[in-house]
Protein backbone atom coordinates (compact mmCIF):
# COMPACT_ATOMS: atom_id res chain seq x y z
CA UNK A 1 0.00 0.00 0.00
CA UNK A 2 2.78 2.34 1.05
CA UNK A 3 4.69 1.41 -2.03
CA UNK A 4 1.75 2.31 -4.26
CA UNK A 5 1.40 5.68 -2.50
CA UNK A 6 5.11 6.45 -2.98
CA UNK A 7 4.92 5.44 -6.64
CA UNK A 8 1.91 7.70 -7.16
CA UNK A 9 3.67 10.67 -5.51
CA UNK A 10 6.78 10.10 -7.61
CA UNK A 11 4.74 9.82 -10.79
CA UNK A 12 2.95 13.07 -9.93
CA UNK A 13 6.28 14.79 -9.23
CA UNK A 14 7.60 13.55 -12.56
CA UNK A 15 4.53 14.76 -14.39
CA UNK A 16 4.70 18.21 -12.80
CA UNK A 17 8.41 18.58 -13.61
CA UNK A 18 7.76 17.73 -17.24
CA UNK A 19 4.77 20.05 -17.38
CA UNK A 20 6.79 22.96 -15.93
CA UNK A 21 9.50 22.44 -18.53
CA UNK A 22 6.95 22.32 -21.34
CA UNK A 23 5.24 25.46 -20.03
CA UNK A 24 8.53 27.28 -19.77
CA UNK A 25 9.46 26.28 -23.36
CA UNK A 26 6.04 27.42 -24.59
CA UNK A 27 6.40 30.77 -22.81
CA UNK A 28 9.85 31.30 -24.35
CA UNK A 29 8.47 30.47 -27.78
CA UNK A 30 5.54 32.87 -27.35
CA UNK A 31 7.94 35.60 -26.18
CA UNK A 32 10.12 35.10 -29.28
CA UNK A 33 7.02 35.20 -31.49
CA UNK A 34 5.79 38.42 -29.85
CA UNK A 35 9.22 40.03 -30.09
CA UNK A 36 9.23 39.24 -33.82
CA UNK A 37 5.73 40.68 -34.17
CA UNK A 38 6.70 43.96 -32.48
CA UNK A 39 9.89 44.12 -34.57
CA UNK A 40 7.74 43.58 -37.64
CA UNK A 41 5.51 46.53 -36.65
CA UNK A 42 8.61 48.73 -36.27
CA UNK A 43 10.19 47.63 -39.55
CA UNK A 44 6.96 48.11 -41.54
CA UNK A 45 6.47 51.58 -39.97
CA UNK A 46 10.09 52.46 -40.88
CA UNK A 47 9.48 51.15 -44.40
CA UNK A 48 6.44 53.39 -44.80
CA UNK A 49 8.44 56.41 -43.57
CA UNK A 50 11.40 55.63 -45.86
CA UNK A 51 9.21 55.36 -48.97
CA UNK A 52 7.37 58.58 -48.07
CA UNK A 53 10.66 60.46 -47.51
CA UNK A 54 12.10 59.12 -50.79
CA UNK A 55 9.10 60.53 -52.66
CA UNK A 56 9.26 63.84 -50.81
CA UNK A 57 13.01 64.37 -51.19
CA UNK A 58 14.37 66.46 -54.07
CA UNK A 59 18.00 65.36 -53.69
CA UNK A 60 19.05 62.24 -55.62
CA UNK A 61 21.54 61.30 -52.86
CA UNK A 62 18.79 61.44 -50.24
CA UNK A 63 16.38 59.51 -52.47
CA UNK A 64 18.98 56.74 -52.84
CA UNK A 65 19.47 56.68 -49.06
CA UNK A 66 15.74 56.47 -48.28
CA UNK A 67 15.02 53.85 -50.96
CA UNK A 68 17.94 51.71 -49.72
CA UNK A 69 16.69 52.11 -46.14
CA UNK A 70 13.27 50.96 -47.37
CA UNK A 71 14.83 47.85 -48.90
CA UNK A 72 16.73 47.10 -45.67
CA UNK A 73 13.52 47.40 -43.66
CA UNK A 74 11.81 45.02 -46.08
CA UNK A 75 14.60 42.48 -45.57
CA UNK A 76 14.19 42.77 -41.79
CA UNK A 77 10.39 42.50 -42.08
CA UNK A 78 10.72 39.30 -44.15
CA UNK A 79 12.82 37.79 -41.41
CA UNK A 80 10.30 38.93 -38.74
CA UNK A 81 7.44 37.37 -40.72
CA UNK A 82 9.19 33.99 -40.53
CA UNK A 83 9.22 34.11 -36.74
CA UNK A 84 5.98 35.92 -36.00
CA UNK A 85 3.74 33.51 -37.92
CA UNK A 86 0.57 32.15 -36.40
CA UNK A 87 -0.52 28.50 -36.61
CA UNK A 88 -2.60 27.66 -39.65
CA UNK A 89 -2.11 31.01 -41.43
CA UNK A 90 -0.31 31.05 -44.77
CA UNK A 91 2.12 33.97 -44.75
CA UNK A 92 3.41 33.56 -48.29
CA UNK A 93 1.25 36.49 -49.51
CA UNK A 94 2.60 39.04 -46.99
CA UNK A 95 6.15 37.77 -47.54
CA UNK A 96 5.85 38.12 -51.30
CA UNK A 97 4.38 41.62 -50.92
CA UNK A 98 7.12 42.81 -48.56
CA UNK A 99 9.87 41.26 -50.73
CA UNK A 100 8.43 42.87 -53.89
CA UNK A 101 8.19 46.32 -52.27
CA UNK A 102 11.82 46.03 -51.13
CA UNK A 103 12.93 44.77 -54.53
CA UNK A 104 11.15 47.66 -56.28
CA UNK A 105 12.71 50.22 -53.89
CA UNK A 106 16.17 48.72 -54.52
CA UNK A 107 15.72 48.77 -58.31
CA UNK A 108 14.75 52.49 -58.14
CA UNK A 109 17.70 53.32 -55.87
CA UNK A 110 20.10 51.50 -58.22
CA UNK A 111 18.71 53.42 -61.18
CA UNK A 112 19.28 56.71 -59.37
CA UNK A 113 22.77 55.66 -58.25
CA UNK A 114 23.69 54.87 -61.90
CA UNK A 115 22.65 58.39 -62.88
CA UNK A 116 19.41 57.33 -64.54
CA UNK A 117 16.02 58.96 -63.94
CA UNK A 118 13.06 57.50 -62.08
CA UNK A 119 10.01 58.13 -64.25
CA UNK A 120 6.78 59.75 -62.93
CA UNK A 121 5.03 56.39 -63.48
CA UNK A 122 7.57 54.66 -61.24
CA UNK A 123 7.11 57.27 -58.49
CA UNK A 124 3.33 56.77 -58.82
CA UNK A 125 3.82 53.00 -58.51
CA UNK A 126 5.89 53.58 -55.38
CA UNK A 127 3.11 55.78 -53.92
CA UNK A 128 0.57 53.02 -54.58
CA UNK A 129 2.77 50.47 -52.79
CA UNK A 130 3.27 52.95 -49.94
CA UNK A 131 -0.53 53.06 -49.48
CA UNK A 132 -0.51 49.27 -49.21
CA UNK A 133 2.31 49.39 -46.66
CA UNK A 134 0.34 51.99 -44.65
CA UNK A 135 -2.71 49.73 -44.55
CA UNK A 136 -0.52 46.78 -43.55
CA UNK A 137 1.13 48.85 -40.84
CA UNK A 138 -2.25 49.76 -39.30
CA UNK A 139 -3.45 46.15 -39.11
CA UNK A 140 -0.10 45.00 -37.74
CA UNK A 141 -0.19 47.59 -34.96
CA UNK A 142 -3.72 46.46 -33.99
CA UNK A 143 -2.66 42.80 -34.08
CA UNK A 144 0.36 43.45 -31.89
CA UNK A 145 -1.80 45.34 -29.35
CA UNK A 146 -4.41 42.58 -29.27
CA UNK A 147 -1.77 39.91 -28.83
CA UNK A 148 -0.74 41.42 -25.51
CA UNK A 149 -3.36 40.10 -23.14
CA UNK A 150 -1.84 41.62 -20.01
CA UNK A 151 -0.80 39.84 -16.80
CA UNK A 152 -2.47 36.49 -16.38
CA UNK A 153 -4.37 35.69 -13.22
CA UNK A 154 -2.27 33.69 -10.79
CA UNK A 155 -3.29 30.07 -10.98
CA UNK A 156 -1.83 26.89 -9.68
CA UNK A 157 0.17 24.75 -12.03
CA UNK A 158 -2.50 22.05 -11.88
CA UNK A 159 -5.26 24.47 -12.85
CA UNK A 160 -3.13 25.87 -15.65
CA UNK A 161 -2.45 22.35 -16.89
CA UNK A 162 -6.14 21.49 -16.81
CA UNK A 163 -6.94 24.71 -18.69
CA UNK A 164 -4.36 23.91 -21.35
CA UNK A 165 -6.07 20.59 -22.02
CA UNK A 166 -9.51 22.13 -22.36
CA UNK A 167 -8.89 25.29 -24.36
CA UNK A 168 -7.97 25.04 -28.02
CA UNK A 169 -6.03 28.27 -28.21
CA UNK A 170 -5.45 31.33 -26.08
CA UNK A 171 -7.02 34.72 -26.74
CA UNK A 172 -3.60 35.99 -27.82
CA UNK A 173 -3.26 33.21 -30.37
CA UNK A 174 -6.81 33.87 -31.65
CA UNK A 175 -6.08 37.55 -32.18
CA UNK A 176 -2.80 36.69 -33.91
CA UNK A 177 -4.59 34.31 -36.27
CA UNK A 178 -7.24 36.91 -37.03
CA UNK A 179 -4.67 39.68 -37.55
CA UNK A 180 -2.47 37.63 -39.87
CA UNK A 181 -5.48 36.48 -41.90
CA UNK A 182 -6.41 40.14 -42.39
CA UNK A 183 -2.81 40.98 -43.37
CA UNK A 184 -2.83 38.12 -45.85
CA UNK A 185 -6.03 39.44 -47.46
CA UNK A 186 -4.65 42.99 -47.70
CA UNK A 187 -1.40 41.93 -49.32
CA UNK A 188 -3.14 39.57 -51.76
CA UNK A 189 -5.35 42.44 -52.93
CA UNK A 190 -2.46 44.78 -53.86
CA UNK A 191 -1.29 44.21 -57.46
CA UNK A 192 2.46 43.68 -57.91
CA UNK A 193 4.33 46.59 -59.54
CA UNK A 194 5.42 46.30 -63.16
CA UNK A 195 9.20 46.65 -63.16
CA UNK A 196 12.39 44.77 -63.94
CA UNK A 197 13.77 43.27 -60.73
CA UNK A 198 14.62 39.78 -59.49
CA UNK A 199 11.19 39.38 -57.85
CA UNK A 200 9.16 41.00 -60.63
CA UNK A 201 6.46 38.77 -62.11
CA UNK A 202 8.13 39.01 -65.49
CA UNK A 203 11.31 37.42 -64.15
CA UNK A 204 9.67 34.91 -61.84
CA UNK A 205 7.62 33.55 -64.71
CA UNK A 206 10.47 33.38 -67.21
CA UNK A 207 9.95 30.33 -69.42
CA UNK A 208 12.32 28.36 -71.55
CA UNK A 209 11.97 28.07 -75.28
CA UNK A 210 10.93 24.81 -76.84
CA UNK A 211 14.03 22.91 -77.89
CA UNK A 212 14.44 22.28 -81.60
CA UNK A 213 13.75 18.84 -83.00
CA UNK A 214 10.92 16.31 -83.05
CA UNK A 215 9.15 14.90 -79.99
CA UNK A 216 10.80 11.68 -78.89
CA UNK A 217 9.27 8.56 -77.32
CA UNK A 218 10.09 7.30 -73.83
CA UNK A 219 11.90 4.33 -75.43
CA UNK A 220 14.15 6.72 -77.39
CA UNK A 221 14.73 8.75 -74.21
CA UNK A 222 15.81 5.54 -72.47
CA UNK A 223 18.33 4.81 -75.24
CA UNK A 224 19.73 8.37 -75.08
CA UNK A 225 20.00 8.24 -71.29
CA UNK A 226 21.69 4.85 -71.09
CA UNK A 227 24.36 5.86 -73.59
CA UNK A 228 25.12 9.21 -71.96
CA UNK A 229 27.05 8.99 -68.64
CA UNK A 230 27.91 5.28 -68.49
CA UNK A 231 27.57 3.88 -72.02
CA UNK A 232 27.52 0.10 -72.23
CA UNK A 233 26.75 -0.47 -68.55
CA UNK A 234 23.88 -2.87 -67.78
CA UNK A 235 21.56 -2.08 -64.90
CA UNK A 236 19.29 -4.07 -62.63
CA UNK A 237 16.25 -1.96 -63.55
CA UNK A 238 15.41 1.10 -65.62
CA UNK A 239 12.33 3.27 -65.08
CA UNK A 240 11.06 6.31 -66.95
CA UNK A 241 9.15 9.20 -65.38
CA UNK A 242 8.41 12.70 -66.59
CA UNK A 243 8.96 16.27 -65.46
CA UNK A 244 6.98 19.26 -66.78
CA UNK A 245 7.98 22.92 -66.45
CA UNK A 246 10.66 24.86 -68.31
CA UNK A 247 11.80 21.96 -70.51
CA UNK A 248 9.25 19.09 -70.45
CA UNK A 249 11.40 15.98 -70.16
CA UNK A 250 11.64 12.27 -69.48
CA UNK A 251 13.51 11.26 -66.32
CA UNK A 252 15.28 7.94 -66.87
CA UNK A 253 16.46 6.26 -63.66
CA UNK A 254 18.78 3.25 -64.03
CA UNK A 255 19.41 1.29 -60.80
CA UNK A 256 22.41 -0.87 -60.01
CA UNK A 257 22.54 -3.95 -57.80
CA UNK A 258 24.16 -1.92 -54.96
CA UNK A 259 21.24 0.57 -54.92
CA UNK A 260 23.14 3.40 -56.60
CA UNK A 261 21.52 4.98 -59.64
CA UNK A 262 22.17 6.99 -62.76
CA UNK A 263 19.38 9.52 -63.31
CA UNK A 264 19.22 11.30 -66.68
CA UNK A 265 16.75 14.00 -67.69
CA UNK A 266 16.08 14.01 -71.45
CA UNK A 267 14.09 16.80 -73.20
CA UNK A 268 10.92 15.43 -74.80
CA UNK A 269 11.38 17.74 -77.77
CA UNK A 270 14.71 17.24 -79.49
CA UNK A 271 16.05 14.65 -77.03
CA UNK A 272 18.84 16.79 -75.50
CA UNK A 273 20.15 15.57 -72.15
CA UNK A 274 19.28 18.39 -69.74
CA UNK A 275 21.08 16.95 -66.72
CA UNK A 276 22.47 13.64 -65.51
CA UNK A 277 23.95 12.33 -62.28
CA UNK A 278 25.53 9.10 -61.03
CA UNK A 279 25.14 8.40 -57.30
CA UNK A 280 27.70 5.55 -57.08
CA UNK A 281 30.07 5.92 -54.11
CA UNK A 282 33.53 7.05 -55.24
CA UNK A 283 36.99 6.19 -53.96
CA UNK A 284 39.83 8.45 -52.83
CA UNK A 285 41.34 10.89 -55.32
CA UNK A 286 43.97 9.24 -57.54
CA UNK A 287 44.19 11.59 -60.50
CA UNK A 288 45.32 15.21 -60.60
CA UNK A 289 43.42 18.34 -61.55
CA UNK A 290 44.90 18.53 -65.04
CA UNK A 291 43.82 14.99 -65.85
CA UNK A 292 40.35 15.71 -64.46
CA UNK A 293 40.21 18.85 -66.59
CA UNK A 294 41.15 16.85 -69.70
CA UNK A 295 38.51 14.20 -68.89
CA UNK A 296 35.81 16.87 -68.57
CA UNK A 297 36.84 18.51 -71.83
CA UNK A 298 36.97 15.15 -73.66
CA UNK A 299 33.48 14.38 -72.39
CA UNK A 300 32.12 17.74 -73.56
CA UNK A 301 33.70 17.34 -77.00
CA UNK A 302 32.20 13.85 -77.31
CA UNK A 303 28.78 15.42 -76.64
CA UNK A 304 29.23 18.02 -79.35
CA UNK A 305 30.45 21.04 -77.35
CA UNK A 306 33.39 22.40 -79.33
CA UNK A 307 34.40 25.78 -77.96
CA UNK A 308 33.68 25.99 -74.26
CA UNK A 309 35.89 27.91 -71.86
CA UNK A 310 36.38 26.98 -68.20
CA UNK A 311 35.27 29.77 -65.86
CA UNK A 312 35.54 28.18 -62.41
CA UNK A 313 35.94 24.95 -60.49
CA UNK A 314 35.19 23.64 -57.01
CA UNK A 315 36.25 20.44 -55.25
CA UNK A 316 33.43 18.47 -53.67
CA UNK A 317 33.00 15.37 -51.51
CA UNK A 318 34.07 14.47 -47.98
CA UNK A 319 37.65 13.83 -49.18
CA UNK A 320 37.52 16.40 -51.97
CA UNK A 321 37.38 13.41 -54.35
CA UNK A 322 35.21 15.11 -56.97
CA UNK A 323 35.57 18.37 -58.84
CA UNK A 324 32.89 20.44 -60.59
CA UNK A 325 33.96 22.54 -63.58
CA UNK A 326 31.86 25.37 -65.01
CA UNK A 327 32.13 26.25 -68.70
CA UNK A 328 30.71 28.95 -70.95
CA UNK A 329 30.46 29.12 -74.77
CA UNK A 330 31.61 31.95 -77.06
CA UNK A 331 30.13 33.78 -79.96
CA UNK A 332 31.32 36.66 -82.13
CA UNK A 333 30.07 40.15 -82.87
CA UNK A 334 31.24 42.16 -85.82
CA UNK A 335 32.83 45.47 -84.92
CA UNK A 336 35.08 48.04 -86.54
CA UNK A 337 38.42 46.38 -87.16
CA UNK A 338 37.09 42.81 -87.23
CA UNK A 339 35.07 40.35 -85.22
CA UNK A 340 35.17 40.36 -81.42
CA UNK A 341 34.91 37.21 -79.34
CA UNK A 342 32.11 37.35 -76.73
CA UNK A 343 31.94 35.04 -73.73
CA UNK A 344 28.33 34.04 -72.84
CA UNK A 345 28.16 33.71 -69.04
CA UNK A 346 24.41 32.96 -68.78
CA UNK A 347 24.86 29.78 -70.89
CA UNK A 348 26.78 27.85 -68.22
CA UNK A 349 27.41 24.11 -68.56
CA UNK A 350 28.63 22.15 -65.50
CA UNK A 351 30.55 18.88 -65.48
CA UNK A 352 31.56 16.95 -62.36
CA UNK A 353 34.54 14.58 -62.50
CA UNK A 354 35.35 11.92 -59.91
CA UNK A 355 39.02 12.09 -58.97
CA UNK A 356 39.31 8.31 -58.35
CA UNK A 357 38.98 7.17 -61.96
CA UNK A 358 38.18 10.35 -63.87
CA UNK A 359 34.58 9.21 -64.47
CA UNK A 360 32.00 11.92 -65.20
CA UNK A 361 29.52 11.84 -62.29
CA UNK A 362 27.24 14.75 -63.11
CA UNK A 363 26.38 17.03 -66.01
CA UNK A 364 24.02 20.00 -66.12
CA UNK A 365 23.20 22.14 -69.17
CA UNK A 366 19.82 23.51 -68.07
CA UNK A 367 20.98 27.15 -68.32
CA UNK A 368 22.61 26.51 -71.70
CA UNK A 369 19.42 25.03 -73.14
CA UNK A 370 17.33 27.94 -71.86
CA UNK A 371 19.48 30.85 -72.98
CA UNK A 372 21.77 29.71 -75.80
CA UNK A 373 20.39 30.84 -79.13
CA UNK A 374 17.47 32.67 -77.51
CA UNK A 375 15.93 34.96 -80.18
CA UNK A 376 15.58 37.69 -77.55
CA UNK A 377 19.36 37.94 -77.37
CA UNK A 378 20.53 40.45 -79.96
CA UNK A 379 24.25 41.13 -79.72
CA UNK A 380 25.54 44.40 -81.11
CA UNK A 381 29.07 45.73 -81.41
CA UNK A 382 30.17 47.49 -78.21
CA UNK A 383 29.86 51.28 -78.18
CA UNK A 384 32.55 51.60 -75.51
CA UNK A 385 36.03 50.40 -76.49
CA UNK A 386 38.23 48.29 -74.19
CA UNK A 387 40.50 51.30 -73.58
CA UNK A 388 37.53 53.54 -72.69
CA UNK A 389 36.22 50.88 -70.31
CA UNK A 390 39.64 50.62 -68.66
CA UNK A 391 39.62 54.36 -67.98
CA UNK A 392 36.45 53.90 -65.87
CA UNK A 393 38.28 51.68 -63.34
CA UNK A 394 39.48 53.25 -60.10
CA UNK A 395 43.07 54.37 -60.74
CA UNK A 396 44.40 52.73 -57.57
CA UNK A 397 43.29 49.26 -58.75
CA UNK A 398 46.03 47.07 -60.18
CA UNK A 399 44.71 45.68 -63.48
CA UNK A 400 45.87 42.08 -64.06
CA UNK A 401 44.10 41.58 -67.39
CA UNK A 402 46.31 42.30 -70.40
CA UNK A 403 43.30 42.28 -72.71
CA UNK A 404 39.85 42.64 -71.11
CA UNK A 405 37.32 40.00 -72.03
CA UNK A 406 34.09 41.02 -73.78
CA UNK A 407 31.21 39.06 -72.30
CA UNK A 408 27.47 38.85 -71.80
CA UNK A 409 26.55 38.76 -68.10
CA UNK A 410 23.17 37.98 -66.51
CA UNK A 411 21.74 40.88 -64.50
CA UNK A 412 18.34 39.34 -63.84
CA UNK A 413 16.79 36.04 -64.93
CA UNK A 414 15.55 37.67 -68.13
CA UNK A 415 17.98 40.57 -68.47
CA UNK A 416 21.58 40.47 -69.60
CA UNK A 417 24.10 43.08 -70.70
CA UNK A 418 27.32 43.10 -72.67
CA UNK A 419 30.31 44.14 -70.58
CA UNK A 420 34.11 44.32 -70.51
CA UNK A 421 35.55 42.06 -67.81
CA UNK A 422 38.67 43.20 -65.95
CA UNK A 423 40.53 41.12 -63.39
CA UNK A 424 41.93 43.59 -60.85
CA UNK A 425 43.76 43.49 -57.51
CA UNK A 426 43.32 45.70 -54.49
CA UNK A 427 45.69 44.77 -51.68
CA UNK A 428 45.48 41.00 -51.27
CA UNK A 429 42.05 40.71 -52.84
CA UNK A 430 41.20 39.96 -56.46
CA UNK A 431 38.04 41.22 -58.14
CA UNK A 432 36.27 40.92 -61.46
CA UNK A 433 34.94 44.32 -62.52
CA UNK A 434 32.39 44.49 -65.34
CA UNK A 435 32.03 47.76 -67.28
CA UNK A 436 28.88 47.99 -69.41
CA UNK A 437 30.07 47.94 -73.04
CA UNK A 438 27.14 50.10 -74.18
CA UNK A 439 26.96 52.77 -71.45
CA UNK A 440 30.50 52.73 -70.01
CA UNK A 441 29.12 52.48 -66.47
CA UNK A 442 30.36 50.02 -63.89
CA UNK A 443 27.79 47.20 -63.91
CA UNK A 444 28.94 44.52 -61.47
CA UNK A 445 31.87 43.91 -59.12
CA UNK A 446 32.60 40.33 -58.01
CA UNK A 447 35.20 39.20 -55.52
CA UNK A 448 37.24 36.24 -56.75
CA UNK A 449 38.02 33.61 -54.13
CA UNK A 450 40.73 31.17 -55.09
CA UNK A 451 42.16 28.49 -52.82
CA UNK A 452 43.11 24.82 -52.95
CA UNK A 453 39.42 23.81 -53.01
CA UNK A 454 38.36 25.96 -55.93
CA UNK A 455 38.02 29.25 -57.75
CA UNK A 456 34.71 31.03 -57.49
CA UNK A 457 33.32 34.56 -57.51
CA UNK A 458 30.92 36.06 -54.96
Amino acid sequence: MWALAVACVLALAFGLTQYKEARSARTRMQAAQQRALFNLVTHVENLEASLAKARASSSVGQQVNFLTAGWLNCQAARSDLSLAGADGVDLSGPRRFVATVGDFALVLSQKLARGETVTPDEWAELARLEDGVKELSGVLAKTAQASVTGPRPARSALLEMAASFTRGSSRAADSLNHGFSEIDQITQSIPAPVYDGPFSEKNLEAQALAQPGPLISDERAKQIALSFLTPGESFQSVSVGTVEGAIPSYVVTAKRQDGSEVATTVAKQGGAVVMATDSAPRGAGAIGMEEARNKAMEFLKSKGFQSLEETGWRKRGANANRVVFAYVPHTEVSAEGGNLKVCLYPDTVKVEVSLDTGAIVSFDQMNYLITHGHPGRVLRAPIISAAEARSVLKPELQVETAEPRLCVIPILPTTEVMAWEFRVRSGNDTYLVYINAMTGKEQVVLQLIEDESGAMSV
Partner: protein
Amino acid sequence: MRIKTLVCLCAAALIFLSTSLSADMPRCAAAPQSWYDEFELLARVIMGEATGEPFLGMVAVGAVIVNRTKDPAFPPTIAGVIYDPDAFESVTNGLIWTQNPTDEMYRAAELALNGYDPTYGCTFFWNPYKPVSPWIWTRPIVTQIGNHVFAY
Protein backbone atom coordinates in the same frame (compact mmCIF):
# COMPACT_ATOMS: atom_id res chain seq x y z
CA MET B 1 11.13 -6.90 0.76
CA ARG B 2 10.84 -7.53 -2.94
CA ILE B 3 8.08 -4.93 -3.28
CA LYS B 4 10.26 -2.35 -1.51
CA THR B 5 13.14 -3.07 -3.88
CA LEU B 6 10.83 -2.74 -6.86
CA VAL B 7 9.45 0.56 -5.58
CA CYS B 8 12.99 1.89 -4.99
CA LEU B 9 14.00 0.88 -8.52
CA CYS B 10 10.88 2.52 -9.98
CA ALA B 11 11.55 5.70 -8.00
CA ALA B 12 15.18 5.79 -9.13
CA ALA B 13 14.12 5.26 -12.74
CA LEU B 14 11.51 8.02 -12.53
CA ILE B 15 13.97 10.51 -11.00
CA PHE B 16 16.54 9.63 -13.63
CA LEU B 17 13.98 10.08 -16.38
CA SER B 18 12.71 13.40 -15.04
CA THR B 19 16.21 14.87 -15.00
CA SER B 20 17.70 13.33 -18.10
CA LEU B 21 14.89 12.77 -20.61
CA SER B 22 14.52 16.39 -21.59
CA ALA B 23 18.28 16.76 -22.03
CA ASP B 24 18.52 13.77 -24.39
CA MET B 25 15.51 14.60 -26.49
CA PRO B 26 16.22 16.32 -29.77
CA ARG B 27 15.80 20.05 -29.39
CA CYS B 28 14.27 21.26 -32.59
CA ALA B 29 14.47 24.91 -31.55
CA ALA B 30 18.19 24.74 -30.79
CA ALA B 31 20.48 26.46 -33.27
CA PRO B 32 23.09 24.21 -34.86
CA GLN B 33 26.66 24.44 -33.58
CA SER B 34 28.87 26.94 -35.37
CA TRP B 35 30.60 24.20 -37.39
CA TYR B 36 27.36 23.24 -39.04
CA ASP B 37 27.13 25.18 -42.25
CA GLU B 38 24.23 25.34 -44.64
CA PHE B 39 25.49 22.21 -46.36
CA GLU B 40 25.29 20.17 -43.15
CA LEU B 41 21.85 21.58 -42.36
CA LEU B 42 20.59 20.81 -45.86
CA ALA B 43 21.91 17.22 -45.66
CA ARG B 44 20.10 16.79 -42.33
CA VAL B 45 16.77 17.96 -43.72
CA ILE B 46 17.25 15.66 -46.72
CA MET B 47 17.75 12.87 -44.17
CA GLY B 48 14.64 13.91 -42.23
CA GLU B 49 12.41 14.30 -45.27
CA ALA B 50 13.76 11.86 -47.88
CA THR B 51 15.14 8.79 -46.08
CA GLY B 52 14.12 5.76 -48.16
CA GLU B 53 13.62 7.86 -51.28
CA PRO B 54 15.67 7.32 -54.47
CA PHE B 55 18.84 9.40 -54.80
CA LEU B 56 17.21 11.79 -57.29
CA GLY B 57 14.36 12.28 -54.78
CA MET B 58 16.92 13.36 -52.18
CA VAL B 59 18.48 15.86 -54.59
CA ALA B 60 14.97 17.11 -55.43
CA VAL B 61 14.14 17.79 -51.75
CA GLY B 62 17.41 19.74 -51.44
CA ALA B 63 16.60 21.63 -54.66
CA VAL B 64 13.16 22.66 -53.31
CA ILE B 65 14.86 24.22 -50.27
CA VAL B 66 17.38 26.04 -52.49
CA ASN B 67 14.55 27.21 -54.80
CA ARG B 68 12.63 28.64 -51.84
CA THR B 69 15.56 30.97 -51.03
CA LYS B 70 15.04 32.60 -54.45
CA ASP B 71 11.25 32.96 -54.05
CA PRO B 72 9.94 36.16 -52.42
CA ALA B 73 7.28 34.16 -50.54
CA PHE B 74 9.97 32.41 -48.48
CA PRO B 75 12.93 33.47 -46.34
CA PRO B 76 16.05 34.31 -48.36
CA THR B 77 18.52 31.89 -46.70
CA ILE B 78 18.84 28.09 -46.43
CA ALA B 79 18.68 28.26 -42.63
CA GLY B 80 15.69 30.65 -42.81
CA VAL B 81 13.78 28.26 -45.08
CA ILE B 82 14.64 25.20 -43.00
CA TYR B 83 13.70 26.82 -39.68
CA ASP B 84 10.56 28.46 -41.06
CA PRO B 85 7.91 27.46 -38.46
CA ASP B 86 6.22 24.17 -39.41
CA ALA B 87 7.78 24.16 -42.89
CA PHE B 88 9.32 20.71 -42.42
CA GLU B 89 7.96 18.09 -40.07
CA SER B 90 11.41 16.61 -39.44
CA VAL B 91 12.65 20.00 -38.18
CA THR B 92 9.59 20.56 -35.99
CA ASN B 93 9.84 17.14 -34.32
CA GLY B 94 13.63 17.20 -34.10
CA LEU B 95 14.15 14.14 -36.30
CA ILE B 96 16.99 15.88 -38.17
CA TRP B 97 19.16 15.77 -35.03
CA THR B 98 18.54 12.12 -34.13
CA GLN B 99 21.04 10.57 -36.56
CA ASN B 100 23.68 11.53 -39.08
CA PRO B 101 23.12 11.83 -42.83
CA THR B 102 24.63 9.17 -45.10
CA ASP B 103 27.26 9.89 -47.78
CA GLU B 104 24.48 9.71 -50.35
CA MET B 105 22.54 12.46 -48.51
CA TYR B 106 25.63 14.68 -48.31
CA ARG B 107 26.15 14.20 -52.04
CA ALA B 108 22.50 15.09 -52.68
CA ALA B 109 22.95 18.30 -50.64
CA GLU B 110 26.11 19.17 -52.60
CA LEU B 111 24.36 18.75 -55.93
CA ALA B 112 21.37 20.84 -54.82
CA LEU B 113 23.64 23.64 -53.58
CA ASN B 114 25.50 23.45 -56.86
CA GLY B 115 22.28 24.31 -58.71
CA TYR B 116 21.31 20.79 -59.86
CA ASP B 117 17.51 20.93 -59.89
CA PRO B 118 15.55 17.88 -61.13
CA THR B 119 12.30 19.68 -60.16
CA TYR B 120 12.81 22.63 -62.55
CA GLY B 121 12.19 25.25 -59.88
CA CYS B 122 9.58 23.64 -57.58
CA THR B 123 9.01 25.12 -54.12
CA PHE B 124 6.71 22.44 -52.62
CA PHE B 125 6.81 18.69 -52.19
CA TRP B 126 4.61 16.24 -50.31
CA ASN B 127 3.79 12.59 -50.02
CA PRO B 128 0.49 12.07 -51.90
CA TYR B 129 -0.18 8.83 -50.01
CA LYS B 130 -0.37 10.63 -46.66
CA PRO B 131 -3.02 13.06 -45.43
CA VAL B 132 -2.00 16.65 -46.24
CA SER B 133 -3.70 20.04 -46.29
CA PRO B 134 -6.17 20.21 -49.21
CA TRP B 135 -4.61 23.57 -50.14
CA ILE B 136 -1.37 21.90 -51.20
CA TRP B 137 -3.21 20.00 -53.95
CA THR B 138 -4.03 23.35 -55.65
CA ARG B 139 -0.33 23.71 -56.57
CA PRO B 140 0.58 22.66 -60.14
CA ILE B 141 2.45 19.35 -59.91
CA VAL B 142 5.57 19.17 -62.05
CA THR B 143 6.90 15.70 -61.33
CA GLN B 144 6.81 12.69 -59.02
CA ILE B 145 10.04 11.16 -57.77
CA GLY B 146 9.71 8.16 -55.46
CA ASN B 147 6.99 8.84 -52.89
CA HIS B 148 7.03 12.62 -53.28
CA VAL B 149 5.28 14.89 -55.75
CA PHE B 150 6.92 18.25 -56.52
CA ALA B 151 4.99 21.40 -57.38
CA TYR B 152 5.38 25.16 -57.99
